[in-house]
């Protein structure tokens, strides 16, 4: 890339928002129940239906959440809980109940460390 002229007027550069809370800013303990509540709310937003319609044991796919959209859930988990899961986490734990259990276990363990530094940097 060509060097940028130092005197040129740049429009206000938008900055990338910080990637979300650090672990220190989150509660020390979060259980399956809290994760399930958050996931149900998230899924309700995704699907445009009331949270009480979402059964914790029904696979995401049966609600019409496609493979690629399910992949994007890992990003929400990262932003919300500073848990760096694999993108396929919602494929391997395909219900609210299963995913909440997985996340609660990881959270209790301190969560998998991110290999390549904090998100967005």
């Amino acid at each position: 890339m060509m060097p940028q002229p130092t005197g040129a007027q740049l429009p206000d550069p938008p900055v990338s928002r910080p990637p979300g809370p650090t672990r220190a800013a989150l509660p020390a303990e979060l259980g399956e129940r809290e994760f399930a509540r958050w996931l149900t709310g998230r899924l309700a937003e995704f699907l445009g239906r009331p949270a009480e319609d979402i059964d914790p044991r029904t696979p995401f796919a049966e609600y019409g959440l496609d493979s690629v959209a399910a992949l994007s859930l890992y990003g929400d988990i990262e932003d919300e809980f500073a848990l760096f899961m694999e993108p396929t986490v919602a494929w391997d734990h395909p219900t609210v109940e299963a995913l909440a259990r997985c996340l609660a276990e990881e959270y209790a363990r301190g969560g998998p460390a991110r290999a390549d530094g904090p998100a967005g940097v």
Partner: protein, 605 residues
Amino acid sequence: MLTPTERKAQGEVTGADEELRIQHRIADLERRFGAPDDPGNPLGTAALLAADERGELLAEAEEVLTGFRLNAEFVPRERGGRLDRIDTLGRVLRTVFRRDASLGLGYGATTFLAAVAVWAAGTEEQRRRVAELLLNGGRLAIAYHELAHGNDFVRNEFRATPTPDGGFRLDGVKQVINNVVRAEALVLFSRTDEAAGSRSHSVLLVEKDRLPAGRLRYLPRYHTVGVRGCQNAGIEFTDCPVGGDALVGEVGDGVELALRSFQITRSVVPSMILGGGDTALRTAVGFALDRQLYNRSVLEIPHARATLVGAFTDLLICDCLALAATRAVHLLPAETSVYAAAVKYLLPKLLTETTYDLSVVLGANFYVRGGEYGAFQKHVRDLPMISLGHAGTAACQATIIPQLPRLARTAWYGGPPAPDGLFRIRDPLPPLDPARLALVATSDSLACSLVGAAAELAGSGARTGAYRPALTALAGELEAELRALQEECAAMPARDRTVLASPRAYAGADRYALLLAAAACLGVWRQQDRDRHRGTAGRPGPQSAAAGFLAGPGWLTAALARLVKRLGRPLPELPSDGEGHLLDEVLARYHEGRSYDLYDTPLAG
């Protein structure tokens, strides 16, 4: 070119040497096809059109491709083939698509689409067998989709039920499979688990000669509007056992493997079909030069000139994006997921629209199926078929949309710009490693390379000359569009990340693809300047003459202006001689027989 002794002294194949080998390969294939407009050429346009009318692939052309060992292009070099680079694969196949898309798909591309899954996840034995099959001139068919489910292939019902001996029992129907009858083996996407979700499917490599008799039957051929020569038919398996060694990857890995393979195939197929766009433009230019209307040549009509120049500009835009996507497979495997979807979405769309514009120039000749301009209507019919096949427009948008909000928020203004190598059209690449292709893009350096472009161009001095104000303004519009899209993504409701996304979200994916195309054009232009400087320092690269055109500001200005216009943003005043300069290039390439893409490749005839 280096002499063998010099090459030996260097001890390795240099980038320039590799480029020359590619050019020789393309020239060899061009020579074998011969001049398209020669009526005596058994592989000329007339013969290809006649085969299309019959709904066949031209047998003589298939023989020529066999003689050229086209299948070697699909087999990795370490397995005895010639596949090193995805950008090169697209470039070589353009020669075939320039003649006939049916041949490009029916002889070539679908075999590659099927083989990719085996290269990505097959066992040593599977890779060996597929390499052997292809190098001996055999074919692979790819059976992923089912008609009822389209690109929602997770709903596929074709079953491969696991059996106690570790094998599978196949039951079900796959429709519209190219080459299904004559292929020796099939790559089948099948349900291996009843549960709903993305871990219920697996990919199987099924070799027909290893199946018991009477368990498979073919369904009638589908006749199609375009690519009529392709032999699409259905296949039905009934209680058909296959061994456990047919499994490609692990049980339940089917969707993951498909999404990885698609990153390669979605990148390269659009690059291939640029050859069809080349022929459509070439045919229209020939018409415009020959035809007299209102006592003047069509070329003197301002609208016709603008259309030809616009089509050439679109082809360059398409090639810049195809270049970035195919080279990203090697260089940016963590980002390819969105780039591959963007190029597969945008490129057939741009080509379809540009050929429609060209059809206006041809007037009533557009409808004529034979004769001098008959190739045109065939390409018009063929192009949309390729857009639909394999990964439909909506499927590609559905890959981009869920990823867009997070990329917009965390990646666009935070990461480094794309590496120089992404845009260097003739440079070598690191080896392809499908395992490194991430399912979700975590950075977006192509979008990042738009940031700061206006300031860069404002300070670009003599290189942009009279084009500088226009280029600076265009880059400013593109940067503003990126910011606006970021803001819109931030406000996008979660529902827009699913297949239920609103039209607004789909429009966002469209704008994003156009911005990526602009970033790719800028990137190519930046790197061409370096090529030119290197050339004047006494080390001219292969075909350095073409670098002169690409290093100039004219095409870049036209390309960015077309993209800014598509984005619905205001256009600055453009230099008045810009169109004339590009028209000169269009005509020079027509008369000298050079391709309408970044490579300026010499053509036969």
